[in-house]
Amino acid sequence: MKTFYGTDLPNPLMLGTAQYPSPAILEQAFRESEAGVATVSLRRESGAGQTFWQMIRDLGVLVLPNTAGCHTVKEAVTTAHMAREVFDTKWIKLELIGHTDSLQPDVFQLVEAARILTEDGFQVFPYTTDDLIVGERLLAAGCEVLMPWGAPIGSGRGLNNEYALRAMRAEFPGVPLVIDAGIGLPSHAARAMELGYDAVLLNTAVARAGDPPAMARAMMQATLAGQLAHQADPIEARDMAEASTPVIGKAFLS
């Protein structure tokens, strides 16, 4: 597995911390899935979410703060600085929303904010689209990880454009790539890993499931299965049957 700014992840599942029925269920979801990274939003708590943040720290996993809900470079940079203080980490998941309905990232501001934050010593995990050129620009801005969307945030549609995600994997073979957003089912997560992605990040699919801890476990198992399958060099699909036992030499009756 590739490292994320020099850090090895214990496994390829990153789990969000929003929208759970309660902090207790959030904690169970982490315990049962053993997800190694927790993303946490700071925007809406603006300095007064200390109790909740302490609960996140107490999960004992790597914390990846995010700039969810930011629409401008300035907001995102301010939030990132706050996150660095609160969680004592250089990691920041950079999210810059460009469109209210699809929550599609504003990739122009994203590149700009990534450059500013990288120069400031942050290790940026940019939430981006599957556009190759934007990916290049983000790397040029100093990012060492890319997090393309599978589908719009919270939509649960899976990998909307598998062709583009394959192209991205092929274009950036040495860069850790994370599918961020759009995962609804374990099969989506497994598929992302089969394509050779290095991790998946999801939140809604677990938090809003009827049984979040069970869904978190299912996601972890699928992620690991997909990863293992990718490493095992799967067979190519073909049009005709290929018998797994030879026909020649077999006794047959006419």
Partner: protein, 325 residues
């Protein structure tokens, strides 16, 4: 005869006092803030008695224990038993299907049935009607409990409770945090608006992917619009974002809400334990009853019954999680 001291006159304290008195106990109440008012977070509640709807995003005890609230409150204050209507915009119908899967005791209603129930709701193709649910006016309910308790001989002391009280029940919500370390505050923001042009007779919930919004009729064209749930312990003021979201949801229900007057803005912190379920703890001479979260009026009766069971009969209800008497 033992005199039980209840500390705090929010919905938890008054419900506990009322339950104790109804079982023949003698009770006094301490609250330095005086009679029920804006200093308690239950003043700012919606007052929905909606155990089935709440089950959508809560654990099973909320639905089961919440059902006792309907009769408990009906015996003490005016309760409107005309159900809850849940609707969603066409683009959010997956959320309505999810809501239906997670809850029970509803019937599906189509556009014409919705208009029959609430003639001022026009544009919703599908909804869910929870006919057994009810709502009350929280301020009226607190006031009624307060008056009844006074009539029953309960003395209200407008001061801090003396230290070293025996037989006391601490119902101070988040102010009990110095003792209950796993208690946290969850910020809620609400508005009270007046819009006589729109008539709604029952609480309406508008499903929205980011925030569950509800509007509760208070009579005379007045509506309570709530409520955000933010993991923050800053209750100083509402944010522009929250206010925009609350008002645009009302506007989405009926554009005539655009003409509403904003009467009040409420911001406070709900006391909650990590599983968002209430707890009863006995530590020495003090019984702590706390953590009603967003279910103040829904779960206060069950909490009060649990406290009375423990205090008067030494029986442990499921809400008791610690007893070191």
């Amino acid at each position: 005869m033992t005199i039980w001291s209840v500390i705090g006159s929010g919905v938890a304290g008054l419900a506990v006092a009322s339950e104790l008195v109804s079982r023949g106990a003698q009770v006094q109440v301490f609250d330095p803030g005086g009679p029920p008012g804006a200093h308690g977070c239950s003043w700012w509640a919606g007052g929905m008695l909606a155990p089935w709807c709440e089950y959508e995003n809560a654990e099973e005890p909320v639905m089961r224990l919440g059902q006792t609230a309907l009769d408990w409150w009906t015996a003490r204050t005016q309760v409107q038993r005309c159900g809850t209507l849940v609707v969603a915009n066409p683009r959010d119908l997956p959320d309505l299907r999810r809501f239906a899967r997670r809850t029970e005791a509803f019937v599906e209603v189509d556009q014409s049935e919705i208009s029959e129930l609430e003639p001022d709701l026009h544009d919703f193709p599908k909804g869910l009607h929870f006919a057994q649910e009810a709502h009350l006016d929280p301020r009226q309910a607190l006031h009624d409990l307060y008056r009844q308790l006074q009539d029953q001989g309960v003395v209200f002391h407008r001061k801090l409770a003396p230290s070293r009280l025996e037989n006391a029940i601490d119902c101070r919500g988040r102010h009990a945090r110095e003792v209950l370390h796993d208690l946290r505050g969850v910020k809620g923001e609400m508005l009270v608006i007046r819009c006589p042009e729109v008539t709604l007779t029952r609480p309406v919930r508008l499903l929205h992917p980011r925030m569950p919004l509800y509007i509760v009729p208070r009579g005379d064209g007045v509506y309570m619009l709530g409520a955000t749930m933010i993991e923050s312990e800053d209750s100083s003021r509402i944010t522009a974002r929250s206010m925009l979201e609350l008002l645009s949801a009302a506007y989405a229900l009926n554009p005539a809400f655009g003409e509403a007057e904003v009467l009040e803005i409420g911001v406070d912190l709900r006391p909650a334990f990590p599983d968002n379920l209430p707890r009863i703890r006995r530590l020495g001479h003090m019984i702590y009853a706390n953590g009603l979260y967003r279910h103040g009026y829904l779960l206060a009766p069950a909490l009060a019954q649990g406290v009375a069971d423990l205090a008067l009969e030494n029986k442990h209800s499921e809400m008791v999680d610690e007893d070191r008497a």
